[in-house]
């Protein structure tokens, strides 16, 4: 299994007035062609920053890369030029976002926006292969149909506000897929949606992944949503990956205390729970992150070693990696 994306020891700070926020602290992740990876973590764990890093969307300053590499199809994205990005964004890697309303331009029609994306991709093609206006529009209609939007041709003339949340998310997915990317990054794609719509969108993503053989990185705080789509899950905490395993394995045998805590904190719809256990304390201030294991102040298993030595992400088995001294 060749890896499509390979992130190695990626460290990133955010420079602010208060000092440098150590946002990402040595991320190691890789993704194979056609693989679906969920990245789960709570607010401020750096999962969105990671996604934006892969897309080259982080403004710098304040972001500052300290070390590491993000290899995609044998290119280091951290060294990509503007021209490289033009060829990558939308055509090799695409992204969908959390709030479908704010990510669509309110004053342009759906057609203008979808066609623009397609038109932008023509630049990097040989002249002969470029599409003309009519072909672009036809392509736009096709990809809207691909995401199961009814009346696609008619939809092109509508404005975002005339669409429902679920439809908007589909449009965003369609735009992302228009350039036939190899990797789709989905940043909390269902968080802003209602539960019944969420189920529809998740089903759509799942379906597209199967049909188009896409590699997907889905970022969410919702373990349930991620588990529904992804084969593998990486759990992040305070800028580090603490556990990485296939979904079934992770749910059945969580090894990191944080992962366990997360699972225990989930209320269950089936059957009565007498108590719900949260994780004590709150996430650390990344300006002065805890020494050693960043989770140790909240960890029930923590000991002296945890507060001094940073646990490395180590392989427990062929498929299961965890960063904990006690696992």
């Amino acid at each position: 299994m060749s890896s499509l994306l390979d992130i190695r020891d990626y460290r990133l700070d955010f420079d602010t007035f208060d000092g440098a926020y150590k946002v990402l602290d040595g991320i190691d992740l890789s993704l194979a062609e056609g693989e679906t990876l969920g990245v789960v973590g709570e607010t401020g764990c750096g999962k969105s920053v990671l996604a934006k890093s892969i897309m080259g969307l982080l403004p710098s300053p304040p972001a500052r890369v300290l070390s590491g590499s993000i290899m995609f199809e044998a290119h280091d994205l951290l060294n990509a030029t503007a021209a490289d990005w033009r060829a990558i964004r939308g055509q090799r890697i695409a992204m969908i976002f959390q709030d479908p309303m704010t990510f669509l331009n309110p004053v342009l029609t759906i057609g203008q926006q979808v066609c623009d994306v397609i038109a932008a991709q023509q630049g990097s093609k040989p002249k002969a292969a470029r599409l003309d206006r009519a072909a672009i529009r036809a392509h736009a209609t096709r990809i809207l149909e691909l995401v199961r939007l009814p009346d696609a041709a008619e939809l092109l003339n509508r404005y975002p506000h005339q669409l429902s949340g679920g439809m908007r998310q589909r449009v965003l997915i369609a735009m992302a897929l228009s350039g036939s990317p190899r990797l789709l990054i989905a940043d909390e794609p269902t968080t802003a949606l209602d539960v019944t719509i969420q189920a529809q969108v998740l089903a759509l993503i799942d379906d597209l992944v199967q049909r188009l053989k896409l590699a997907v990185i889905m970022i969410s705080h919702d373990l349930g949503a991620v588990a529904a789509v992804c084969r593998r899950i990486a759990v992040m905490y305070a800028g580090t990956v603490v556990e990485d395993a296939p979904t079934a394995e992770l749910l059945a045998h969580p090894r990191h205390p944080y992962t366990r805590g997360l699972l225990a904190a989930l209320p269950d719809i089936d059957g009565d729970q007498a108590t719900l256990v949260g994780i004590a304390g709150s996430i650390p201030n990344l300006l002065t992150p805890p020494q050693g294991c960043r989770f140790h102040p909240r960890c029930p298993l923590a000991d002296g070693r945890c507060s001094n030595e940073k646990p490395l992400l180590r392989r427990l088995s062929e498929i299961h990696r965890v960063a904990c001294h006690h696992a």
Partner: protein, 303 residues
Amino acid sequence: MASDITSAAPTGWRARHAGTIRQWRLYAHLFRRSFSSMLGLFLVVLFLVLAAAGPALAPYPEDTMGAVHLDNRLKPPSLAHPFGTDEMGNDILSRVIVGTRTSLWIGLIITGVAALIGVPLGIFAGYMGGRIREVIMRITDVFLSVPGLALALAIVASLGPGITNCVIALSLVWWPGYVRLIDSKTLALKEELYIEAARAIGARTPRILFHHILPNCVSPLIVKASMDMGMAILSAASLGFIGLGAKPPSPEWGAMISVARSYMPDWWWYALFPGLAIYLTVLGFNLFGDGLRDILDPKSRGR
């Protein structure tokens, strides 16, 4: 962090206001970073120092109170008179310096009166909504639809020239801007959850207005007021230019230019320096206000 759970409430002033102090340090930091804001601050401070110490700094203080040196008329800039002398033989530098105080006074009163009228009306209109708001805002619109200068011109033309009338006229045309600002801010704040929360607690309207809404209006208010200081000074100078401003001999920049324009271009220094003083003062207040807005109210529109 963990030790916090058992700790007692902090007692020292510094500890109690740690958050505020940090906020202010952040403001200062952001402000310092911007060249144009610092230029604004510098000009404003210079202006205030000149206004405070004016007569003491002026090389010929008697020239600002109507001295007559007809033998020393219209002398070009020299060491003795760096800005030259005017048609009565008075030192222009001294008159420009002392004019600072007049301008400061004009700016303060106009913005102050305008804010005193505009803020309560705006907050009332915004919070009450409905008919009351409709009436207040329509009246405001009427005033806004007349260009301030034209209205002030009419007012001064009927009340007669002089700084006091000038200030009255400009104050009368200045307040609608504040009503608009505070009204829109109040409307926005009214939708804030914490206002709803305060109402849910049973807080009375005055408490909500003064405890919750007004403090949140302060930053746009400061920004607007600092810009208006400059604009008020400019407007007063414009009236002075038309000949409706300060009475002689008290030095006022607009009136000086009004006289000096007859002496262009051969006695260029006469019009140049008061004009520069107006320009730099207004520039200073505007850059300063712009800078304040960038740090206090980054989202608000650049009106």
